[in-house]
Each structure stands twice: as structure tokens, then as C-alpha cells.
């Protein structure tokens, strides 16, 4: 019991640190990718290739003056970024980072909690995440912030529905809601993307909307709303908002690669004899997939312009939700036919 607890605490600390470091370097990666796409060099002053740039940015955030507007609701103004950050970090608890590592005669699972409703847990945390933005936007007592917060919440609620529906077809195929089970069923090259390409497209679009990323970054649309929900924020509170966005990108990438791209599974994994080696390579494969998706998020951001708000709502309600429903019906029909005739 105590050893198990120690394992879990150790794993939690590692996952926490890795999420923060990846989010930290995503800020640099974003600027480097944008520079690459726009034929520029990007930040290269702090450290070699600008590797110390995130550290410099972090120090700057900490030493800036922290202003709380006099008309703001102080408690809610502080609560907003805190909730954003907490919910962004909470989701990583159910993601299976690898299989098992065996040392000194015991198996250590590389997943913090394999609860049997893993996916629903992710949805619950995501749906709580919207409070961070709403509370912050309302608490700053500014019209632009409020408009940004309202946009964010209606956008996130709308896209959550399509996202949930797109997952149902995966759950139907797998017969389980546990993320560990879903990943382990995609053994080798048997990835869900080959069975559910439409589901992946819907999920990916919704993930962009949930992370408030371009082309759906209307909550912080600077051309109309100054800075959106974080107009009034300064110093590290602003830093927390921006940072939680990058953690959300990291977690969404992890969930996309776990659900549709096999997670830690890779082709020819049965040819390797040592199970420990398989799981260590698996972790690296998983992170390679995650980093690809993080790059994909940035690629889209610097390529596609922003939607208009009515287009965003139309896409969510009139196209994605019916498409996801049709996907469920088709998946069910195919499964039934397979069960009836090919069993």
C-alpha cells in the first residue's frame, strides 16, 4: 500500500513537471513555428536558438507589477486564472503514458488512475474549465472581458456536445470508457483512426474550439475585443491564463493520440522481446505523437484565419453535431452487421 502510494506520488510529480516543461517550451515552439511559416528567424537572443526565451518570459511575468483593477471583484478576479490552471493540469491523471515497467519484481503502471469512466472524467474537467474564463471575465468588471467570457462559454458548451458525440462511436467499438483499455485495444498498428476517421475530424475540430485556438480563438479576438477575457489581467495572472492554454493544447494532443492514434502502441512492438524496452519505447512514441499534434495546433494557427462568430456557431450546431450523430448510427449499423453475419 505504501509502496503503491509512493509510486503514484512519484508519477504525479513527473507528469506535473513534464506538463509544465512542455507547456513552457510550447511558447517558444509557437514563436519558432510562426517564424518558420512566415519566413523569419524567430527569437534567438536568449541562449542558443533562443532556448532560454521561455525562462526570460517567465521571469518577466513574475516581476511585472500585479495590478488588480479597483472596480474588479477581487476574489473572483484571483479565482479565474487559478481555476483555469487547476483544470488544465487535472486532466493528465487519466492519460495512460505507457504500459508497465517491471523492476525488482513488481509492476508499475504508467498511468496515475485507470478509472473505468476515464473519458467522462476528461469531459467533466473540460466542462469545469470554462468557469475559469467566465469568472475571470466577469470578475474584471470590464465590458470587453465580459463579452470575451460569454463567447468562450457559449463556444465551449456548443463544441462539448459534438466532442462527446464523436467519442461515443469509439466507446461503442471499444466497449469501455477507460482510457487505459481504449489504448491497449489499439495494439500494434490497429489504431482507431483507421476505423473512425470522421470521429477524429470532429474531435480534432472540437479540441481546437475547446482550447480557444485559432481558427476558433474568438474569446480573445483582439480586433474586436481588445484582449477578450484577459483584457484586465497583468503579470503572472495573465501568465497563468496563457500558460493554461498551452497545457490544454498538450493534454488535447495527448488525448487525441491516445484515443485515435494508438497512444503508446507502435508497429512491430511484438518483435521486441523485453517488455520493459517496449514500454520505454512506447512512452517515447507517445510523446512523439503528442509533439506532432502540438505542432499541428501551431501549424493551423499560423495558416488559417479566424472564423466569424455566427460561422463558428453554425459549424458547431448545424454541421458537426449532425455529422457526429450520423457517425454513431453508421458505427452501430456496421457493428450490428458484423455481429450478425461475420461472427
Amino acid at each position: 500500500m505504501e509502496i503503491l502510494l509512493f509510486d503514484k506520488i512519484f508519477l504525479i510529480v513527473i507528469v506535473f513537471a513534464v506538463s509544465l516543461v512542455i507547456a513552457l517550451y510550447s511558447t517558444l515552439a509557437e514563436r519558432k513555428v510562426s517564424a518558420f511559416l512566415q519566413d523569419r528567424i524567430g527569437p534567438n537572443r536568449a541562449g542558443t536558438f533562443g532556448l532560454l526565451q521561455p525562462v526570460a518570459d517567465g521571469v518577466k511575468f513574475f516581476f511585472k507589477e500585479d495590478i488588480i483593477p479597483s472596480h474588479a471583484d477581487k476574489a473572483l478576479y484571483i479565482l479565474g486564472p487559478s481555476i483555469s490552471m487547476i483544470t488544465a493540469l487535472m486532466t493528465s491523471a487519466v492519460i495512460p503514458w505507457g504500459t508497465y515497467i517491471t523492476f525488482s519484481g513488481r509492476q508499475v503502471a504508467m498511468q496515475i488512475a485507470d478509472i473505468n469512466i476515464g473519458i467522462l472524467y476528461v469531459f467533466a474537467v473540460v466542462s469545469i474549465g470554462v468557469y475559469g474564463i467566465m469568472i475571470g471575465g466577469w470578475g474584471s468588471n470590464n465590458k470587453f472581458s465580459l463579452l470575451g467570457a460569454l463567447r468562450a462559454s457559449s463556444q465551449m458548451i456548443s463544441y462539448e456536445i459534438a466532442m462527446g458525440l464523436s467519442i461515443i462511436s469509439i466507446v461503442m467499438m471499444t466497449g469501455s470508457m477507460s482510457l487505459g483499455e481504449i489504448v491497449s485495444q489499439q495494439h500494434g498498428m490497429d489504431w482507431n483512426i483507421f476505423y473512425q476517421p470522421v470521429g477524429f475530424l470532429i474531435f480534432c475540430t472540437c479540441a481546437f474550439a475547446e482550447c480557444n485556438r485559432t481558427p476558433f480563438d474568438l474569446p480573445e479576438c483582439e480586433a474586436e475585443l481588445v484582449g477578450g477575457y484577459h483584457t484586465e489581467y497583468s503579470s503572472m495572472k495573465l501568465g497563468l491564463y496563457l500558460f493554461s492554454e498551452y497545457i490544454n493544447i498538450f493534454i488535447s494532443s495527448a488525448i487525441m493520440s491516445a484515443m485515435f492514434f494508438g497512444g503508446y502502441n507502435f508497429p512491430f512492438m511484438d518483435q521486441i522481446a523485453s517488455p520493459n524496452l517496449v514500454s520505454i519505447i512506447g512512452v517515447f512514441v507517445f510523446f512523439a505523437k503528442i509533439i506532432f499534434f502540438i505542432f499541428f495546433f501551431m501549424w493551423v494557427r499560423w495558416t488559417i484565419p479566424r472564423f466569424r462568430y455566427d460561422q463558428l456557431m453554425k459549424l458547431g450546431w448545424k454541421y458537426l453535431i449532425p455529422l457526429a450523430l450520423a457517425n454513431i448510427v453508421i458505427t452501430g449499423t456496421v457493428m450490428l452487421i458484423k455481429y450478425q453475419f461475420f461472427n
Binding site: N116, I117, W138, I157
Partner: protein, 169 residues
């Protein structure tokens, strides 16, 4: 350990439920209601073994319905000046109605369950998704289908209300 956790969760849920009523600012009321839902979900998951119910409670109530509540309250921008004054009679009748409801609840609950026993038994795995689905689609199929029709009619009603001009397409 379990008892301590139960006491902690229950006291937080009772205090936050009281703060829903006593908060001056309606936005705070909504946020405390969200906290109450969280503690209730904690009760479902930890003491009754109903993980699915707990998580659905959070997704549906805390995650969707309360966000819409907050939405409306933020847009209305309620404060002291705009607060409508309620007549004394409706205040008294509200107190009487609430008291009667409490009495009914109390009577129903004292006969029903022996609380510590339900706590200890953990009610098996009834809260798990598989079990719940099987029960819903066999034993309670008719009520389940009827309630889905009810939801559909509510959705149609909402669309009708949301339409600006009924004659136009």
C-alpha cells in the same frame, strides 16, 4: 478515515448549500451551488460507489446547466438597486411551502434507508456504466424511452421559443 472524509464532505456541502442562499451576490450563489454539486458528486463516487452518476452529475449540472445560469445572471447584471422588492405575503408563503417540503423529505427519508448501512455496503457495482446500461435497457426500458421523448419535446419547445418569427420557414 472514511468517516472523517464523510464528515468533511458533508460539512462542506452543507455550508456551501447555505451560502447559496445567504450570498448577497447572485454570481456567488451560483458558484456555491457548483461547489455543492461537486461535494454531492463526491458523496456518490466515494460512499455509494456510483462513479458514473457522480461524473454525469458534474458534466450535466456543474458543467452545462450552471454555466447557463451564470451566463444569464452575468448578462442581467443583478445588483441591490435593481432587485425587485417582494411583498411580505409571498415571503411568508415561501417559508411555509419550504417548511412543508422539508417535512415531506424528512418523513420520506427517515422510513427509507438506514444511512450507515447504505454507507458500508457501497451498493455493489450498481453505479458502474455497464451495470447501469443493462438495467436501463432491460428492467427500466419503458420509463427510459418515455423520458427521452420528454427531453425531445423540451428541445422542440426550446427551438420554438427561440425562433424569432414563427411564420418564416
Amino acid at each position: 478515515m472514511n468517516n472523517l472524509l464523510f464528515l468533511l464532505l458533508s460539512s462542506v456541502s452543507i455550508i456551501s448549500a447555505l451560502l447559496v442562499i445567504f450570498s448577497k451576490n447572485p454570481v456567488y450563489s451560483v458558484l456555491f451551488l457548483v461547489l455543492t454539486f461537486f461535494t454531492l458528486a463526491g458523496h456518490f463516487a466515494i460512499f455509494l460507489g456510483a462513479e458514473f452518476l457522480a461524473i454525469v452529475n458534474i458534466i450535466v449540472y456543474a458543467g452545462a446547466i450552471m454555466v447557463l445560469f451564470l451566463f444569464v445572471i452575468m448578462l442581467l447584471n443583478l445588483n441591490k438597486e435593481s432587485e425587485p422588492t417582494t411583498p411580505m405575503l409571498s415571503k411568508i408563503s415561501a417559508i411555509v411551502a419550504g417548511g412543508l417540503f422539508l417535512l415531506v423529505l424528512f418523513a420520506a427519508l427517515t422510513n427509507q434507508i438506514n444511512a450507515p448501512e447504505a454507507l458500508n455496503s457501497k451498493a455493489g457495482d450498481i453505479g458502474m456504466v455497464k451495470k447501469l446500461g443493462q438495467v436501463l435497457f432491460t428492467e427500466y426500458l419503458l420509463p427510459f424511452e418515455i423520458s427521452s421523448v420528454l427531453f425531445l419535446s423540451a428541445m422542440v419547445g426550446a427551438v420554438m421559443l427561440g425562433k424569432k418569427d414563427l411564420k418564416q420557414g
